[in-house]
């Protein structure tokens, strides 16, 4: 019998009678992380890591949420379950499920490089690995973190020296804080859009090492903050809200910025190639490190990536899920503010 099956509600474990990141109401949901395409309302009970819980509560309101630490084993029915760092956003997890000695792992979203904030990704040995492949094509290879730090601060310093605001679009959960963590606070003050500040405050209360930020309110004296970095949601960049910063320089931080066409269409001055998903070398490395023989790929360039894996000798399949896929989704159609930060819709909005 399979450890996990794929249903129209989400990934299901018959032995433990629970779902992982379901998209329709179920009695028991195990969540990999708090992005809106993975964490949805309407479940009877939830289980997440203790580190992911505050954001999930913030987003879903009063829910019955139980928490678990990384690596802590828990028996659920006939399944032995544990959560392991996925390195995607703070608190994000891969979920390991063992039934009768057979081990399957659901990756959730993940990246293999250390962003300085999220608990770094760890390989989990398994027989079957269910992997996302948002960026499962060889054209995606991320800029190293140190280079990103120089790029972002260099851009900010240049704008600050000209007295201009630096308006940076980054999703409110994960990417925004990752950017903050890279910033050199000696350049100037950091301002935030309300949606960014709300999540940042939740993470700060958890003890994340984040620099001081000031929320942009209608009565904030912008002149006194000339040259500041302003971190906003990508959608806010095109809104009337952004106009108050006058002749600001604009940028977006996203893995899609690796492609010139998308970067240009986004129409910002700069595009920083910064993703919280694994790039092509990252995906290949991660899959190798699990030791799995069977790999299921979910959202992203699934058809191409499956074929590639098969040619590398894996037994590979595609699982269709409701997670953000390769199809272009206009940003204004996205359900909530906290959508997956690298969904293509974010880049083209």
């Amino acid at each position: 019998m399979n450890v996990l099956t794929f249903t129209d509600r989400g990934i299901y474990c018959p032995a433990g009678d629970f779902h992982i990141d379901p998209w329709r109401p179920v009695p028991r949901a195990l969540l990999t992380h708090g992005h809106s395409d993975h964490a949805r309302g309407g479940m009877d009970t939830y289980l997440s890591t203790d580190l992911a819980a505050p954001v999930i509560r913030h987003r879903l309101g009063p829910i019955r949420l139980d928490t678990i630490r990384y690596g802590e084993p828990r028996q659920i029915g006939g399944a032995k379950v544990s959560f392991h760092p996925a390195g995607h956003v703070p608190g994000s997890a891969q979920i390991r499920v063992e039934v009768g000695g057979e081990v399957w792992v659901v990756s959730g979203d993940y990246k293999v490089v250390d962003d300085g904030l999220s608990t770094p990704w760890e390989p989990v040995r398994c027989h079957a690995f269910i992997s996302e492949c948002t960026f499962g094509l060889p054209v995606f290879r991320w800029t190293p973190q140190e280079e990103l730090r120089d790029q972002v601060n260099g851009w900010w310093a240049q704008n600050a020296s000209e007295g201009r605001f630096s308006l940076l679009g980054a999703y409110s959960l994960g990417k925004a804080q990752r950017v903050m963590h890279l910033l050199d606070p000696s350049i100037g003050p950091i301002l935030t859009h309300g949606a960014v500040e709300a999540v940042t405050q939740v993470l700060r209360d958890q003890g994340m090492p984040l620099p001081p930020t000031t929320r942009v309110t209608p009565d904030l004296d912008l002149k006194a903050h000339a040259g500041a970095m302003v971190i906003a949601t990508p959608s806010a960049l095109n809104s009337t809200w952004a106009r108050k910063f006058g002749n600001a320089s604009t940028a977006v931080a996203s893995g899609w910025m690796a492609l010139r066409g998308i970067r240009r269409r986004r129409g910002t001055d700069r595009g920083f190639v910064m993703s919280d998903h694994a790039d092509w070398p990252g995906l290949n490395e991660a899959i190798r490190a699990t030791g799995a023989e069977k790999v299921f790929v979910t959202h992203g360039y699934t058809a191409a990536f499956r074929r590639w894996l098969e040619e590398q000798g894996y037994d590979a399949g595609i699982v269709s899920t409701d997670y953000a896929g390769e199809e272009v989704l206009a940003h204004d159609e996205a359900p909530k503010d906290i959508i997956d930060e690298d969904a293509p819709g974010g880049a083209v909005a």
Partner: protein
């Protein structure tokens, strides 16, 4: 190459004109002369020709990256640009190179002359020496597809700033038949005078689209004529020779041998601006008649009789060897009339007749008559204006007739390339014929980015069938298609081909059973073909 890549990066990173000009001017002040010369050449469309096939480049890149070809193709489909795909899939370079742009261009010419194994080794080595955008640009040069979003006007402005000369002088110097092999930076921009080269054309003056003639002010300040639908040309008669230039700065002298006879009637030191038109003896023929002559270097005799051309002349730029562009239009026009009046009908020159008017309403009426006159609208020129350089607002306006239109339904969609790689932007439209839908044109412009995103989301949800990159969609979305001309075409199932088709409006209000029919198209063909 680093300076050049940095320049390209700065240009690519901004949409603000001033920032682009500043980036260019900085570069033209600091880069080595050989690089500056190549940069001007590249930015004015004088790019080296492709000498290595795209297939070879693709094969070599995939092999070096250790990827199967199908995966390369898959990636190319997403990226939409061959050079960018190659630059992205190759492993990071193991070497670093400080060589300038001119070195890499010389290198790629050297390599293209070598036999295949050495050539391949040389290119792999170049890729392994160039990081990120440098590798992308080198590959763009290799594939002969280098383009940049900088207009000639912007570059001219930056060069004028960097070399401390008037823009008009720079613009004039950049015209003509030079390449980086035939000139130097000093000769192109500093030595002698722009007019020393007897074949060198003047920069063309271009008109802006007029929205409302009421904005023009006093009608008495303006001169009106037809906007002719042919090929803009500048005819130069100097030192016993004639040269014909197109607006795209191509020398097209040999393609229109009829104009050689202008020398028989006009003195040397004459430069005329006008429109090359196919001419039936009394009237202009449609643009369709001119079409077969555009792509050919030499003209078969039959075409000289079925579609002979004239220059419909509307301006005089040089007289008796003097540059008279600063002279007011009204005076230039009088001199032009004096020059052309009384020429026999066999002279390949016609004077573009004035369109008399007293009021703005007269103009509106004349514009509506444009199609029957074989023209595509009106030109309005300020009587007191000098002949300018490039596209400048204020003195020359074009006021085109409204396009022909038809309401049609979208039946196929295809993703765009480059800038629009993950949006559906290329569509095929159909009209009704009884119960059948007959595809008749493609169109890929006219929508806003927001509309393209909206239609892309719709296509994703309403695809009926996939044929490679093409999606057949439910025939639901109705668009008003605008076009400038129509001709019979046996190659197309509909029997017609449109000129400059584009989407004018997304007709959310119109159901598919109210779209136009094949008969409507045939009627338009009968009236305007």
């Amino acid at each position: 190459m680093k300076d050049f890549a940095a320049l390209y990066g700065r240009l690519d990173q901004t949409t603000r004109t001033n920032a682009k000009v500043a980036a260019l001017a900085d570069y033209f002040r600091t880069a080595p002369d050989a690089d500056k010369l190549w940069t001007v050449a590249l930015f004015s469309g004088r790019r080296p020709r492709r000498t290595i096939t795209a297939t070879s480049l693709r094969d070599w890149a995939a092999e070096r990256a250790g990827l199967p070809l199908w995966l390369f193709e898959e990636s190319y489909g997403i990226v939409g640009d061959l050079s960018e795909t190659i630059a992205l899939i190759l492993p990071p370079p193991s070497k670093d190179s400080d060589q300038p742009l001119s070195y890499w261009i010389a290198r790629l010419r050297e390599l293209s002359a070598l036999p295949e194994p050495e050539r391949k080794a040389g290119i792999l080595d170049a890729w392994d020496s160039l990081p990120g955008s440098e590798r992308f640009l080198f590959t763009k040069l290799l594939t002969g597809s280098f383009r940049v979003g900088v207009s000639q006007t912007l570059m001219t402005k930056a060069l004028a700033q960097a070399t401390d000369q008037p823009e008009t002088e720079v613009a004039h110097r950049l015209m003509g038949d030079w390449t980086p092999e035939t000139t130097t930076w000093a000769r192109l921009l500093h030595e002698g005078e722009a007019r020393d080269d007897s074949a060198r054309p003047y920069p063309f003056y271009l008109a802006y689209q007029l929205e409302d003639p009421a904005d023009l002010g006093d009608p008495a300040d303006w001169f009106a004529e037809r906007k002719w639908d042919g090929i803009r040309g500048q005819l130069i008669l100097r030192e016993g020779k004639h040269h014909l230039w197109s607006r795209g700065e191509d020398l097209i002298t040999d393609r229109f041998p009829e104009l050689a006879r202008a020398i028989d009637w006009l003195p040397h030191g004459t430069v005329l601006d006008g429109e090359i038109l196919a001419w039936d003896g009394d009237h202009p023929m449609t643009f369709n008649a001119l079409q077969p002559r555009i792509g050919r270097k030499t003209v078969p005799k039959s075409l000289l009789t079925t579609a002979p051309v004239v220059l419909m002349t509307y301006d005089l730029l040089e007289q008796d060897g003097h540059d008279i562009r600063p002279v007011p239009f009204q005076d230039r026009r009088q001199r032009l009339e004096a020059l052309l009046t009384g020429l026999p009908p066999e002279a390949p020159l016609r004077l573009s007749p004035p369109v008399p008017f007293a009021t703005v309403d007269d103009l509106r009426e004349e514009r509506l008559r444009a199609r029957e006159e074989g023209a595509e609208g009106l030109m309005l020129k300020r009587r007191s204006s000098p002949y300018g350089t490039g596209r400048k607002k204020g003195d020359w306006w074009k006021w085109k007739v409204d396009p022909l239109t038809i309401d049609a339904v979208m039946v196929y969609a295809q993703a765009g390339s480059g800038r629009r790689a993950n949006l559906f932007t290329d569509f095929t439209f159909a009209v009704r014929n009884g119960n059948e839908l007959v595809p008749f044109t493609k169109a890929y412009s006219g929508l806003t980015d927001a509309e393209f995103r909206q239609i892309t989301a719709w296509v994703n949800k309403h695809t009926v069938q996939k044929f490679g990159p093409v999606r057949q969609v439910e025939p639901v979305q109705v668009f008003e298609i605008g076009f400038e001309g129509i001709q019979a075409s046996p190659r197309h199932k509909s029997g017609v081909a449109l000129r400059f088709p584009r989407m004018l409006r997304w007709r959310h209000d119109k159901p598919v059973n109210e779209i136009d029919t094949l008969d409507t198209l045939r009627e338009i063909l009968a009236a305007h073909g």
